[in-house]
Amino acid sequence: MKSNRLAFQSWCSRAAAHIRFKADRPDVEQELLEHMEDHFDALVQEGLTAQEAERQTLAAMGDADETGAALAKVHKPYLGWLYVAAKWLVALSAVLLLMVSCSTGMDFSGYGFPEPFQGLATESDETYRREITYLYPNCTDKCNGYTFSLPVVTHRRGTWVEKQENMPQTYEAVYFVLEAAHPLPWAGSPDGLRESIYAVDSEGNLYPSRCQKVSHSDYEEREVCGNPVGRTLLRYRFQMWISTLDPDAEWVELRYGRMGCSFALRIDLTEGGDAA
């Protein structure tokens, strides 16, 4: 049996040596060897001696060089080299990812959206009464590839009595989460809106952005301002506010318009919302 195997292996090695892509040779050798052993076993089962079965098996396989030349035609080397190159490409990409991940520190601190309006007082006491209404305006608008929406708005009214004059006072403001979504993950946060977003209300009052106020030397308290609060892969959120809201306002509209890009989002303040 051992001599059969050596003879068969020698035949297979000689045939496989014609294949130009060396990495393929062991597999082809193994395939040929199994084929020859199967043939050998079948002949032995038919009653032939081991020597005769070996001779017939080798004869059936023909000339090793001719078979090898035929195999070389089937096994083109360029696909093999391409496969090796592709495997190297995967390995190098993985190494590059590891290096870049280590060098950038993989900082995900800005990812995710925090609970909105954290830190804003909600309780009333003897001297200051707070009324807070949550609104969910169903409005969206598009600008520069971004889709803007207002996931949640809170209308806040504070009332207190001025001790010296014994006069009731009120202060109203709107706090809102402004969300921008973009289909491209590399679009980045649309921070330009913070410079130029402003608001008008149903009474015709203007609430400029903080940048517009200083540019116009306007130091009134009415303004629209805010900060970015988080992001996910395709969405960016800003928590913003409209301060010193006119108590008579029935709606307030956020507007942006600069160099060919504009959007508007209206908040209906009379809409029945959830009281806090």
């Binding site: 089962q45 995967v90 990409s93 590059l96 950038t104 679009a187 980045g188 649309p190």
Partner: protein
């Protein structure tokens, strides 16, 4: 007894190559994402900055000047024009992996300053530099004059900085500057103003140069009324000369303020 070989049929080599290429493409995209999606050129980074600034117009790059190294990265300052509507400065650094990309981190650290074009025919603006306010305190302050005088090959810029009385400087006298620049870029002259020596750092002259650049920064503009006399940016006079040395235009205009 006959052996039965049950071998799973391997994927064809071409399919394995395709899978490897696909895996490599996914990994390389993750590398690109982890790197902060760097742009492949300063101009491409500018397009992204425009998108983030929520402006639909695409600026024409008039000048692209190298600035000081920032964290070991190369930087560029671009002078940009948006037709007759606006002009701007854009600063960006080559901070991608292997320093092959610009404005990585979704543009973190880059700066786009926009200001409206003046109706006077020339728009003069001082640049906050890139990195912001680090580019000029020890070297030069760049002042750009976006012009519409194509025949001009040389320009002279003069202006006077008059500090507001509220600043309380004892040497609060107006200081005049006269600068000259040759035409190096179509559509814009870039003037370089050497900032005062270390000994003069505390003078009102030095104190006023930085606010001059802050005029185009929307978040710093509140300092202008209390910094300059009359509560407004100073007025500059620009004289343009043609190749024969003749003055072809003289224009007076105030330093630009941020577009908001």
């Amino acid at each position: 007894m006959k052996r039965i070989h049950v071998k799973p049929k391997p994927l064809p080599r071409i399919a394995r190559i395709a899978l490897c290429v696909l895996a490599a493409a996914v990994l390389l995209f993750v590398v690109y994402a982890v790197s902060g999606y760097p742009a492949f050129s300063p101009e491409q980074a500018l397009r992204r900055a425009e998108r983030r600034a929520l402006i639909s117009m695409h600026g024409e790059v008039l000048a692209c000047e190298p600035q000081m190294l920032y964290n070991g990265n190369a930087t560029r300052l671009l002078a940009v024009e948006y037709g007759d509507v606006a002009a701007g400065f854009y600063g960006v650094s080559q901070n991608g992996p292997l320093r092959l990309g610009w404005g990585a981190g979704s543009g973190s650290g880059d700066s786009l300053y926009l200001f409206p074009k003046s109706a006077d025919g020339v728009t003069v603006a001082a640049c906050p530099g890139y990195p912001r306010y680090m580019g000029f305190p020890e070297e030069t302050l760049v002042i750009a004059a976006f012009d519409d005088v194509p025949e001009a090959v040389r320009a002279e810029l003069s202006f006077t900085l008059a500090p507001s009385a509220s600043l309380g400087y004892p040497d609060a006298a107006p200081i005049s500057y006269a600068l000259s620049a040759e035409r190096e870029h179509e559509g814009v002259f870039l003037f370089s103003l050497a900032t005062p020596e270390e000994a003069d750092k505390q003078s009102s002259a030095n104190y006023l140069l930085e606010p001059l650049a802050e005029c185009v920064d929307p978040w710093s503009a509140q300092i202008i009324p209390g910094t300059f006399a009359d509560g407004a940016p100073p007025v500059a006079t620009v004289v343009f000369y043609d190749a024969s040395g003749n003055a072809v235009a003289t224009i007076e205009t105030a330093f630009a303020r941020a577009l908001v």
